[in-house]
Structures are given as structure tokens and as C-alpha cells.
């Protein structure tokens, strides 16, 4: 008889969702055969799920809290930039403001971070630049998760020929170098707006999620509870949505959150190279690129958008890391 291992009972780092340590009031339940009514010893322990457990874990992580705070701030900046600055990021005054140095006394004013080579407020441009980065990051992530998640799910669930075809397509896309692919794709657009960049990144990025999803679905599909669902007569839709998806989605979420920061960085890279966003869109990448010319005389022109970009990317990656740790302590 396969014994349930001793270790199970005091697993040092219990995986959320399979922890045996937190049987609510096991002592109380021990008398179940005699009396079905329980003493309230167990009431204090609420029903917990993987997400509940993960949330409990996350709330205690300072890194998570800091990154979430930063992200909330960034998102607010993206939605309501005018609430953070009165200055117009597009207003150029080459006469008065040309490469004016940062003025620390001008708190939250137009001159706080200084002015760029066209006499535009760097502070305002940093604030307004968040919109492009955050939009690209979030929309691309949503796009790849949807597209990659769906194809990965279909490939993993149906297997056989469907899987073979999808997997080969994934392999082909995986082989395209990101920059080269983006260059080719974006060249096809008359005006390279945020949406054009989003399109290019989704087309080139969904395969990563699809692979993760396919692997997770393949594992979950074997589980006894999925077999049990089939034995009950559950249809494809129910099996996928009730049984497989909730159990396979965790690694996808982890990969997606970490990748979000990467998409923002990629957008900036593309814009910096001149194949991403174009003026008049305000983007940190474009600003960094144009600051190159004056880097010797006015390094602050590059510093502020670059710092904003770094902090944003870091915040998302840190959050992704924390989420991963909380959802799957084994990966640590």
C-alpha cells in the first residue's frame, strides 16, 4: 500500500492549496463519527483557496507592496497625467527654456526636472510618457495572454494533430528574432501609433505564453479530478473552464506579470531605435533617443525618462517575482 509520506504532515514550506498543516480544527473534526456538529475551534480558520493563500502571503511581502504602490502611481499617471502636472509636455520654448537645468525649488512645476533641447518640460514629458509605456505593457500582456492562452489551451487539451500543428506554428514564431520581426512588421504601418506597436509585440510575443499554457494544461489534463469530471459526463467546455483553466492559469499569470515589464522595455527599445513609436506620441524611449545628442552637455535630459523607464520595468518585474513566489514556493 503506498503510504502517504510522513513528511506530508509537517511539510516545512507547505504549498498553498495542498498544505496539510492547516486542516481547520482537525482535532475538532476527529470526532466526526459520533457527532457531526463541531465546536467552534475551527471557525477562526476561513476557507482558503490557492488565491486566498497567495494573497495572504503577498500582503506580507514589502517588495510586493512597494511595487504595487509604484504601479498604482504609474497607472494613475497614465490615466490622469494632468493631475500630476500643469505643464504642457508639447509646449516648446526654444528661446527661454532651451536645455534649462533642473530647478529643485520648482516642486512639481514645469521646470522641476529641467527642459530638453526643444525647450519642453522634462517633468511633464516623464509624466505624459507613462501613458504609452503602461498602455503598451498592459495591452500587450492582455493580448498575449488571451491569444497565447487560448492556443496553448487548445493545443494541450486536444493534443494529437491539433497540437502538432499549433506547436509547429509556435516553433516558427519562436524562431523570429524580436527586433527583426518588429522592424519588418512596424515598417508595414503608415503611422506607428501605440496600437501598431501593441500589434507587433502581441504577434511576436504570444508564443511564450502559449508554450507555458500548453505545458500546464498537459499536466492538469492528466489529473484524477479531470478524469473524474469526464466520468461524470462533463463536456469539453466544462472540463476546460471549471477544471483545467483554474488549475493551469497560475504559471501563465506568473510569466505574464514578469513579461509585462519586458514589453515596456521592448517598446522603449523600439522607440529608441526609431522603429517603435513616433512623434508626436510622447514616449520615454523617444525621449531617451533624442537626449543622446545632448548627453555630454545636459545628461539630465536622458536621466529622467531613463529613470522612469527603469523604475517602471523594475516595479512590474518585482511584482511578477513576488506573485510567482506566492503562487509556487517551489520555484524559489
Amino acid at each position: 500500500m503506498p503510504d502517504v509520506h510522513d513528511e506530508d504532515s509537517y511539510q516545512p514550506h507547505p504549498k498553498p492549496g495542498v498544505s496539510h498543516l492547516d486542516y481547520a480544527g482537525e482535532q475538532g473534526m476527529a470526532v466526526e463519527q459520533e457527532t457531526l456538529i463541531e465546536p467552534d475551534a475551527e471557525k477562526r480558520e476561513e476557507a482558503r483557496s490557492l488565491w486566498g493563500d497567495a494573497w495572504r502571503d503577498l500582503r506580507r511581502r514589502p517588495i510586493f507592496l512597494i511595487s504595487v504602490l509604484l504601479i498604482v502611481l504609474l497607472v494613475l499617471m497614465a490615466i490622469f497625467p494632468w493631475a500630476f502636472t500643469d505643464a504642457n509636455p508639447r509646449k516648446a520654448d526654444l528661446v527661454h527654456d532651451y536645455l534649462k537645468r533642473p530647478d529643485w525649488t520648482d516642486f512639481f512645476g514645469a521646470g522641476w526636472f529641467g527642459y530638453d533641447a526643444q525647450g519642453r518640460s522634462i517633468y511633464a514629458r516623464v509624466i505624459y510618457g507613462a501613458r504609452a509605456s503602461i498602455t503598451v505593457g498592459i495591452v500587450v500582456t492582455a493580448g498575449v495572454t488571451l491569444l497565447g492562452g487560448l492556443t496553448g489551451m487548445v493545443a494541450g487539451y486536444f493534443g494529437g494533430a491539433v497540437d502538432a500543428v499549433i506547436s509547429r506554428i509556435i516553433d516558427i514564431f519562436f524562431g523570429i528574432p524580436l527586433l527583426l520581426g518588429a522592424l519588418v512588421l512596424l515598417n508595414g504601418f503608415a503611422s506607428r501609433t501605440v496600437w501598431a506597436v501593441v500589434f507587433a509585440l502581441v504577434v511576436l510575443g504570444w508564443t511564450q505564453i502559449a508554450r507555458v499554457m500548453r505545458g500546464a494544461v498537459l499536466t492538469v489534463k492528466q489529473s484524477d479530478y479531470v478524469v473524474a469530471g469526464r466520468a461524470l459526463g462533463a463536456g469539453t467546455g466544462r472540463l476546460m473552464l471549471r477544471h483545467i483553466l483554474p488549475n493551469a492559469v497560475a504559471p501563465v499569470i506568473v510569466v505574464a506579470t514578469i513579461a509585462l515589464g519586458g514589453y515596456i522595455a521592448t517598446e522603449a527599445t523600439l522607440s529608441f531605435l526609431g522603429i517603435g513609436l513616433q512623434e508626436p506620441t510622447i514616449s520615454w524611449g523617444i525621449d531617451i533617443s533624442s537626449a543622446q545628442k545632448v548627453i555630454r552637455t545636459a545628461p539630465y535630459v536622458m536621466f529622467f525618462p531613463a529613470a522612469a523607464l527603469s523604475i517602471t520595468v523594475l516595479a512590474f518585474i518585482m511584482m511578477g517575482d513576488a506573485v510567482r513566489d506566492a503562487l509556487d514556493p517551489k520555484l524559489r
Binding site: V4, A47, A228, A231, L232, G233, G235, R242, H243
Partner: protein, 382 residues
């Protein structure tokens, strides 16, 4: 196959009517004939070609009677779990037939299959993996009602779930808890409640207690027995623990390498086994009695179980059998009652040389009787 064959079993057939007739107690409710399940072995990634097959179940026939418990024993790789999956229609049979109340069910699909599923349910081995960790106990036990809404009207479902929890000995208030908050034995009760929800007639138990602690096993066995009486269930009880199978089963079938080698009532199998494999299996079971240590007459089998992808010709057990002759190599023994045996020994046994073994117990008894007699007579030796 009856007049309305598999093709007619589609939407046109009123599924409610299909399986409602009562089967009298002791009559076959499930008839399995020459059931075959091969898993193809393939090579190549893009262009797969079949290079062989794992013959997991290879020509198995037996009946499950209404109201009985049929134990199926055998070692790993004998095909007992595959048999369960094929009977549950979780795997498509390669050949042979499975008839439920006279209807062929092994090739059903769609709503006809769904109707059969209401009546044949399963309890899984591992209570830690057979419950969806993202669903509450109420959702898990209530899912059968969502899939088969005709069983319980929407408004009554919560009540129905709570009743089921009560039936399996769990507090009905646990309805909003998640599986990980329960111990193994409690989870297995949840699995049993899920299996009972649709009021099936047949429950296939695949090693339902082997993952549980010894002290909890008895609780679950008792529960299964109690439910059988209460709901008039027929069980197919698959296990490798021979003492538990003996306790719960009315009849027992022994499988080896995809074949049924012997089947009969529990007494016929345990006390009058005539197939050498059954005898070896029974003799190997550790007996929880240290006094039996010396008097035990264990048949130690040599070698390993051959690969099911390439089973021996003739009798599959011949490579490890001490009785094997030329005949066993060429002629497949049929599962029939050997004509040369009488009494309890005359039950279905797939061996050309089926014969009762001088049972170790009776041998030991005789020995001790002998020595007692000798002591009484005051004379030693023989």
C-alpha cells in the same frame, strides 16, 4: 446488440427510459465479453507509425451481478485499472463488448453516453488528486447535478449536497470548504459522495483505500459496505490488498498480464484456488500473525512480470509457473471450470493443469494435530 443499436441511441432515444428497468438481484447488470484494450506504441514525431501495442486488457469476460461486490485483484500492470477506465468509457475499448442491462455501451457517445454515466460511477484511488483543489466541497459534490440537471432541481441542490455529506459521515456545514482542509480519509468520503450524487447503480472503486492510513481504511470500507445496502449498489472493487478484497467481496476475479486467470466466489478463490498464479499471490501476502511465520509455505515466484507489449504465447503465466509444460506454450487456456475438478475447486480457472494446492493452512493444521497426537501417545518421530 439490441434492435436500437449504438447509432439509434442518439438524441432520438428518450434517454430517461433507456436504463430504468430493474435488474433482479443476482442477475447480471454488467456483462463484459472479450474486452480488449491496446495502447498503440508509436514512433516518430510528425509522421507517427505504430510499432506495436501494449496489450493492457486482452480478452476479458465476466459478469457483474446486481447488488454484489466483485473484487478484482492483481499486481501492477495486470490491467485492472485499465479495465476500470474502459468500463467507465474513459478509454475507448479496442474490441469486445460491455453490456449494461443488455445494452452495448462501449461505443456510445454524446447524450446516450451521458445517460449511462448517470448509472455507472467511480471512486478514485488517490483522494489527494481526485478532487479539484480550486473548487469547494459543495461545488465538487454539486457538479454532477449541474451536468445532469434532471437529477436534482436547481433549488434543491444545496440541500441535496448537504444530504450527501451527511450520508458519507461529514458535517453538512463543510460545504464551503476546500479539499485541502480535509484529511485523506475525509477527502475519500467527499469522493464517494460525488460518486453517489447521481444515484448510480454501479460504482467502480479503483483502489479506494490504498492511499489511506491503516486506521482510516476500515472506516472507509465500512462506509462503502453501509452505502451498498442503503442504495442497492453493485460494486466492482479493484485492489491489491487481498485481505480487504476478501472482506468486502462476494466474488473475486484474479488478473494477470491483461487476462482474467481465475474467478469465483470469495471462498472458492481464497480457500480453493486452482490457478498457480492465484496460489502464489495468496501465499505471498504477509499475514499479520507472527506465529504463522514458521509454518508458512510461500511460493516464491521467479523472475518479473513480462512486458504487456510482448506477452508470452499460450498461457501468459507460463514464464513464471512451476507447472508449465509444452502445452502451456502453444495453447491458450480458457477461463472455464476444469472438468476434472469437483466441489469448490470447480470454478472458472484459466489453467491447463488447474488443481487445488494442498493449502498451507490445512497442512499446518494437520501438522499440529499430528504433533499433538504424538505428544498424547507419548511417542516421538514418525
Amino acid at each position: 446488440m439490441t434492435a436500437n443499436g449504438a447509432s439509434a441511441l442518439g438524441a432520438a432515444m428518450p434517454e430517461e427510459v433507456a436504463f430504468t428497468q430493474e435488474v433482479p438481484r443476482g442477475e447480471p447488470i454488467l456483462e463484459i465479453r472479450d474486452l480488449v484494450k491496446y495502447f498503440p506504441l508509436t514512433q516518430g514525431v510528425l509522421f507517427r507509425k505504430q510499432v506495436g501495442a501494449v496489450k493492457a486488457v486482452d480478452g476479458v469476460s465476466f459478469d457483474l451481478m446486481q447488488g454484489e461486490t466483485l473484487g478484482i485483484v492483481g499486481e501492477s500492470g495486470c490491467g485492472k485499472s485499465t479495465l476500470a477506465k474502459v468500463l467507465m468509457n474513459l478509454e475507448q475499448a479496442t474490441g469486445g463488448s460491455v453490456r449494461y442491462k443488455g445494452e452495448e455501451i462501449s461505443r456510445l457517445s454524446g447524450s446516450a453516453l451521458k445517460a449511462v454515466r448517470r448509472n455507472i460511477q467511480m471512486v478514485f484511488q488517490d483522494p489527494y488528486t481526485s478532487l479539484n483543489p480550486r473548487m469547494t466541497v459543495g461545488d465538487i459534490i454539486g457538479e454532477p447535478f449541474e451536468i445532469h440537471p434532471e437529477v436534482a432541481p436547481r433549488g434543491d441542490r444545496r440541500k441535496a449536497v448537504q444530504d450527501l455529506l451527511d450520508v458519507v459521515g461529514l458535517n453538512p456545514e463543510y460545504i464551503n470548504r476546500y479539499p485541502h482542509q480535509f484529511s485523506g480519509g475525509q477527502r475519500q468520503r467527499i469522493g464517494i459522495a460525488r460518486g453517489l450524487a447521481l444515484k448510480p447503480e454501479i460504482i467502480i472503486c479503483d483502489e479506494p483505500v490504498s492511499a489511506l492510513d491503516v486506521s482510516v481504511q476500515a472506516q472507509v470500507i465500512n462506509l462503502l459496505e453501509q452505502l451498498q445496502g442503503e442504495f442497492n449498489l453493485s460494486y466492482m472493487f479493484i485492489a491489491h490488498d487481498l485481505s480487504i478484497v476478501r472482506h468486502i467481496s462476494d466474488r473475486v476475479g484474479v488478473m494477470y498480464l491483461g487476462r482474467m486467470v481465475e474467478i469465483g466466489s470469495d471462498a472458492e478463490i481464497y480457500d480453493h484456488a486452482t490457478h498457480p498464479y492465484t496460489q502464489a499471490l495468496l501465499s505471498a501476502v504477509p499475514v499479520p500473525d507472527p506465529t504463522a511465520r514458521e509454518s508458512r509455505d510461500r511460493i516464491v515466484l521467479t523472475g518479473d512480470v513480462p512486458s504487456p507489449a510482448n506477452p508470452p504465447s499460450g498461457c501468459r503465466f507460463r514464464t513464471r509457473c512451476w507447472k508449465a509444460q509444452q502445452r502451456c506454450e502453444v495453447e491458450v487456456p480458457l477461463l472455464v471450470a476444469p472438468s476434472w475438478l469437483a466441489g469448490a475447486a470447480s470454478h472458472d480457472s484459466a489453467c491447463h493443469f488447474a488443481a487445488e494446492r494442498e493449502s498451507e493452512q490445512s497442512a499446518a493444521e494437520r501438522e499440529s494435530e499430528q504433533s499433538a497426537a504424538e505428544r498424547e501417545n507419548g511417542q516421538g518421530g514418525d
